[in-house]
């Protein structure tokens, strides 16, 4: 097994595999769970307890670790070109550099804004009702920000190369 095979073969495969898990969970939260919980809370009696107790913590577990795995495998693929991408040194690495920065901002949102606030919302750490309300808003906006960023992130990860090559820039 050569290093090239590990870096570009296994690395790319695992990067996409974990990325599907990460963004899949992100879209599940935003396209499905947020609205479902709102409707469940309006039921009499409220019916969302099973989701917040059994589904959300498990989804968050795979969500946050898939985010770490995606970024690490992405860094593995870039290898010694990581600085060319992140510092926009070479034209060939500028599109993927933009995608990588979007991914890093999203990883920050997951671990610094979403997960610590979700722990308060789900009762994993103690919080007053006021703190929970604030946590709910911060986690919600960070999650929605990640949905927004995921759209250009995926463009620069998978779709942009042909577009820039077509424009004669690569």
């Amino acid at each position: 097994m050569t290093w090239d095979f590990i870096q570009y073969g296994l690395g790319r495969w695992l990067h996409i595999l974990s990325g599907v898990m990460w963004i899949g969970m992100l879209y599940y939260f935003n396209f499905v769970q947020v609205d479902a919980l709102k409707k469940a809370a309006a039921d009499t009696p409220p019916t969302g307890a099973g989701i917040t107790k059994h589904v959300a913590p498990r989804a968050l577990l795979f969500f946050r670790w898939a985010a770490v795995a995606t970024v690490l495998f992405g860094a593995l693929i870039l290898g010694d070109k990581l600085d060319d991408a992140l510092l926009f040194k070479e034209n060939a690495y500028k599109p993927i550099g933009i995608g990588a920065w979007l991914g890093l901002i999203m990883l920050f949102n997951v671990w610094v804004l979403i997960w610590p606030n979700q722990k308060k919302i789900l009762g994993i750490v103690p919080a007053t009702d006021e703190e929970k309300n604030k946590a709910r808003r911060v986690a919600f906006l960070a999650s929605r920000t990640n949905v927004m960023l995921s759209i250009p992130m995926l463009f620069f990860m998978v779709a942009s190369k042909g577009v820039f090559r077509g424009a004669g820039l690569l």
């Binding site: 935003n30 933009i98 927004m148 995921s150 250009p152 820039f164």
Partner: protein, 32 residues
């Protein structure tokens, strides 16, 4: 003004608009 991120479709539209903005930014950075 309402925060577009409060709406799911507002969020998606913002994502597409940001893609266009970043595409032209990338082109500029690449000398195109």
């Amino acid at each position: 003004m309402k925060n577009p991120l409060d709406s799911l479709w507002g969020t998606v539209i913002c994502g597409f608009l940001l893609t266009v903005v970043l595409y032209y930014l990338a082109r500029m950075m690449m000398g195109g």
